[in-house]
Amino acid sequence: MRKILAALLIGAAAAAGAGAAMAQDGPLRIEIDQGVIEPLPYAVPDFVPETPAASEYAAQIARVIAADLSGTGLFREVPASAHISKVTGFDSPVKYADWKAVNAQALITGAVSVNGNQLTVRFRGHDVFAEKELGTGLQFNGTTDGWRRMAHKVADAVYSRITGESGYFDSRVVYVSESGPKNDRRKRLAVMDYDGANVQYLTNSASIVLAPRFSPSGDRVLYTSYESGFPQIHVLDVGQVQRKVLSSGDGTMSFAPRFAPDGRTIVYSQTQGGNTDLFSMDIQTGAKSRLTSAPSIETAPSFSPDGSQIVFESDRSGSQQLYVMPAGGGEARRISFGEGRYGTPVWSPRGDMIAFTKQNKGRFHIGVMRTDGGEERLLTASFLDEGPTWAPNGRVIMFTRESQGSAGRALLYSVDITGRNLKPVKTPDGASDPAWSPLQN
């Protein structure tokens, strides 16, 4: 409780009838950095349908908003069964006393109207104990097909107003869908909403596909495919589902691609004569340049968000470790010095941290460290955790967890960078190699 910002205590203290000494002026707010122990209670009654066709969306939109907010572990919903007031009109005065009585500190009200296939969602956030609106109301327009996205946008706005961080709910995840036993596993690319809804398959499972990665604007995906018999890098337009092969050369392996922030340069691994090094390519001109030339393995590169540096893994020291070098190549500085092996580094979208996979004493971990290697923190531990990807706001990490043994299968999990709120992400089949998109526009 102490770790929640003092401002948040106003509501709790008032509800508990505690002394005025704890009360301070300030907005309703959760400070995520402090690690929230007690989730903030909120209510999101069904939105008000303002046209007949809006009824089916009005309740469902409220449910998606609640799933987003409660799913963070930072918020706790006061269920509808406890509500005293019903919200019957978007502009009707809010009966704050009724929401205080059930200790909902935040209240989200909204209205939905449908005109043909056009959907309009309006919402307001309320700071119940301050008896005022939480920021100004917003309106989102879209199509009825996109109703879930509009719910995510409302939830992003609420999350952002209360935490001061940008949201991440209106985002997608591209991943590898897996089926079949370990020795006959079929893999195909799939893309879905961050919460597992709206799964769409992008390739068939005729050849192995690995490690898809979004472009900075989320319109394209780089991935590795064995379609030619050798691993090669492909780029796929997500909207058009058109694809092309980027790397070429029969018998040359190319893999582990990732976009630079410019959306035009990629960095990847290429293997020649059994040795794997890093290269970059301008995907418009096809011009390549070599970034490393060492007899060791150099792979899993990831750009810093300003495009100036690349973090990657190398076994040049004798075991897998993390290194940072200038984006054009040059001297690399080792940043991982803990026990065990480190791989699959990914620079956070905020630029302040690097997520990685660590292997130590027969266990795998997802962890984060500062970009200079300091403040290493392990977030998970299991038989096999690997391949972290950052939520667009740099607060949550999704990764692959594979279970042990002959019946082992891979599933996606997410965890806060505080190590809290570890949970599976719902997918129709097995799933691996997630990559989170940026926030959608």
């Binding site: 036993p181 018999g229 018998g251 996979t357 043994g405």
Partner: protein, 168 residues
């Protein structure tokens, strides 16, 4: 010498098991070679792909995170080199594999190292380099699916797959 024969026999048995339960090996053997045609047919034709797989031994195994060829592996590759020299029409693809204890990208690179180690050794034994392609599957194609060393040791492998006749 007797230990070498034992090792080859063990690998040959493993090869049979692999053929029966791993369809990718069959796929990789496409191109009309007719892998496995001699299985169960009694004495194998020494020039047949089945003989190469079962009697010569089509794969070598590696220690954890290593791509160094063991003496046993070198013995098997010497046999492969002799067979490939006598059956000069075949080109091959050497497939490198890793066990599941490792990250995906690293294991791809490690499998490439293993396949290349086998390729370099075959070249040192007189097989022309242009007949020998390499590819790595990393940890994507395990033969054995238990999560302990009994399986891992069989998955850390480089398999020499006969890929068809030379043309022109």
């Amino acid at each position: 010498m007797s230990s070498l024969k034992l090792a080859i026999a063990a690998v040959a048995v493993l090869g049979l098991a692999a053929c029966s339960n791993n369809r990718w090996d069959d796929t990789a053997n496409g191109g009309g070679v007719g892998a496995g045609a001699g299985i169960g047919a009694g004495a194998l034709d020494p020039a047949s792909p089945a003989y190469f797989q079962q009697t010569v031994g089509d794969r070598v195994l590696f220690l954890v995170d290593q791509s160094t060829l063991t003496p046993e592996a070198q013995g098997i590759l010497q046999g492969q080199a002799r067979w490939l020299t006598q059956n000069a029409d075949y080109v091959v693809t050497i497939e490198g594999h890793a066990d599941e204890q490792g990250t995906r990208e690293y294991n791809l690179a490690l499998g490439a190292r293993r396949a290349n180690a086998a390729r370099e050794y075959l070249i040192s034994q007189g097989v022309a380099g242009h007949r020998l392609k390499v590819v790595s599957y990393g940890k994507e194609r395990p033969l054995e699916i238990c999560s302990n060393e009994a399986c891992y040791s069989k998955n850390r492998r480089a398999v020499t797959v006969l890929a068809g006749g030379l043309t022109g």
